[in-house]
């Protein structure tokens, strides 16, 4: 018996040590998160005001506000969503409802979406510049930036949409078929409404991704910080504004901090809303044991 005691206590020590290490790692990640957030909030909150949100930038962004930049950001986002939503959700419906998982077409689509999800955003920027801006002649414009973003959003919209549709119980489809409903009616009146929370979560995640994007927009939607007159004008998004202020404009740090605060607040709200939706949807999906 005497021999087993040291072995056991060694095990306990190892256990305690592992636990300590893991707690320290978790604490470090939390600390980094709080550090980043508090730096951004502390640096930006003094400069933030209503007039900062609506005024036009002056003196290359050192003074004035971010009014036109917010407008450009929203316009780029709207273009991206208008293009990506129908395409993404139709693809999701096809993958979930019409083709089997191992058909050639289905797996080809799924494979290329996977690849698309991994393409670095700077590569999307190069592609958008070559295809939308130059080949299709859109130039540096909100339209070409938005369409480039649409390509980036497709994978996330399709994967959340497909997961949402697949989570709808088969009983819905069987009952609809028993009632003689066509597949189209079933899809529009039964399956899509049932999958709505997941579609909405995907939409919010997509919006978050789009608002956060910088590299893909650098050489597609451009740097111009005036109020855009049309979709063919160049427009600077909030993320690019932060980049430009901190890298190319000396003395722009206060405005950059405030812009970063606006961006990060918007993103946190969007992401929290998306998490709420997914959590609610999973709670309904999982049958309590």
């Amino acid at each position: 018996m005497a021999e087993t005691v040291p072995v056991k206590s060694a095990g306990i020590h190892r256990d305690r040590f592992a636990q300590l290490t893991i707690y320290i790692a978790a604490f470090m990640v939390c600390a980094a998160f709080v550090w980043i957030l508090s730096d951004i909030v502390r640096g930006g909150v003094a400069h933030l005001s209503w007039s900062f949100l609506v005024d036009a930038p002056r003196d290359a962004g050192r003074a004035g506000g971010i009014g036109p930049i917010l407008v450009s950001t929203v316009l780029v986002l709207l273009v991206a969503l208008t293009a990506a939503l129908p395409l993404g959700w139709m693809t999701a419906a096809l993958l979930a409802e019409y083709v089997s998982a191992d058909s050639t077409f289905g797996s080809a689509v799924r494979y290329s979406l996977q690849v698309l999800a991994g393409v670095p955003s700077i590569v999307f920027g190069l592609f958008g510049n070559a295809f939308f801006s130059i080949y299709l002649g859109m130039g540096f414009s909100i339209l070409s930036g938005g369409l480039t973003l649409a390509c980036m959003l497709l994978p996330i919209l399709v994967s959340t949409g497909e997961a949402g549709l697949r989570a709808v119980p088969d009983a819905y489809r069987l009952s609809a078929a028993a009632l003689g409903m066509s597949r189209k009616t079933t899809l529009f009146h039964l399956l899509l409404p049932a999958a709505a929370p997941s579609l909405a979560a995907g939409l919010l995640l997509g919006i978050g991704r789009a608002v956060a994007e910088t590299a893909a927009l650098l050489f597609t939607s451009g740097y111009v910080d005036r109020m855009p007159g049309s979709l063919l004008d160049s427009g600077r998004t909030l993320a690019i504004h932060i980049f430009d202020l901190s890298m190319n404009v000396s003395g722009g740090d206060a405005s950059a901090h405030a812009s970063a605060l606006v961006l990060i607040t918007a993103l946190l709200l969007i992401n929290i809303a998306a998490m709420r939706l997914t959590a609610g949807w999973q709670r309904r999906k999982i049958v309590p044991e």
Binding site: I22, T91, P120, N129, C151, R183, A215, F243, I264
Partner: protein, 274 residues
């Protein structure tokens, strides 16, 4: 109706081909004029005098991504273990949300934070501050969520019977994790690490803002470097002719590198399912 859906899916699938096509078409002038060897053997990167040595950028990319992985893998796996086995249900939920929010912070904000907080700190330690180390630290924070969330997902998919069996044998918690849970989840964790490597290699803005962007092979952690992606973002606005084509070549290289990594990850995922 079905045709409409197929059309939409076809467009989605064709996008990858379209991207590859346009990158190749734009790279073609460079690939025709400049032999592949010159991207490796030219004396320097100086497109004005048509010298196109990409190796310093390649080494910068690999150092930054490798360093970030070295830090993010233990932190990410520890985070996943914390959520799965150590934290109370409430604590685990909060911590998981925090990691998800960390994943949602835009790269330009990471870059800005690195530039205003990390770089001055590193500068006090060892000038100039904008360095490989700053890039590694920022990248670590950016890829940690990918590793933590995929590792957690694969820990969740470890059959509960394994864990109950381990508990019934009276194995300690760490023994159960090391002997049962981690081996059972290892392919999923590996796939997550590969995805994170892909992100680290392709990341542009944050790295561009904190690494100083000097084209050189880094001799120490405190040397400034320039990555392939940062090089594209820096020089695209004024690049013409062969220079522009050379940037597209580096973009194509990045895309192929990431596609390769993703194929490996997908393969791992498939083996785990099978």
């Amino acid at each position: 109706m079905l045709w409409l859906l197929c059309g939409a899916a076809g467009i989605a699938a064709a996008l990858v081909l379209l991207i590859l096509l346009f990158l190749s078409a734009e790279s073609w002038p460079a690939l025709r004029h400049i032999s592949i060897g010159r991207f490796l053997n030219d004396p320097s990167w100086n497109p004005g005098e048509s010298m196109y040595k990409l190796t310093p950028m390649l080494s910068g990319t690999l150092y930054a991504a490798g360093g970030a992985l070295l830090l993010a893998i233990p932190l990410g796996i520890a985070s996943a273990l914390f959520i799965a086995y150590y934290a109370s249900p409430r604590g685990a939920g909060i911590y998981r949300h925090l990691i998800e929010l960390l994943a949602g912070i835009p790269s330009v904000v990471y870059g800005f934070w690195g530039l205003t907080t990390l770089v001055p700190l590193i500068n006090q330690l060892h000038p100039p501050g904008a360095s490989l180390l700053a890039g590694i630290l920022v990248l670590t924070l950016m890829i940690l969520p990918t590793i933590a969330l995929t590792a957690h997902a694969s820990l969740l998919s470890v059959p509960p019977d394994y864990l109950r069996g381990a508990a019934a044998l009276g194995i300690s918690r760490w023994g159960m994790i090391r002997g049962v849970a981690l081996p059972a989840a290892k392919t999923g964790i590996a796939a997550g690490i590969i995805l994170a490597a892909g992100r680290a290699i392709g990341e542009t803005m944050a790295v561009l803002m904190v690494t100083g962007n000097v084209v050189q092979h880094a001799a120490s952690l405190f040397d400034p470097i320039r990555t392939l992606a940062a090089n594209i973002a820096l020089e695209m606005p004024y690049a013409m002719g062969d220079h522009r084509a050379a940037l597209f070549v580096s973009g194509l290289t990045l895309m192929l590198l990431v596609m390769m990594l993703w194929s490996v990850a997908a393969q791992l995922g498939r083996n785990r399912d099978g």
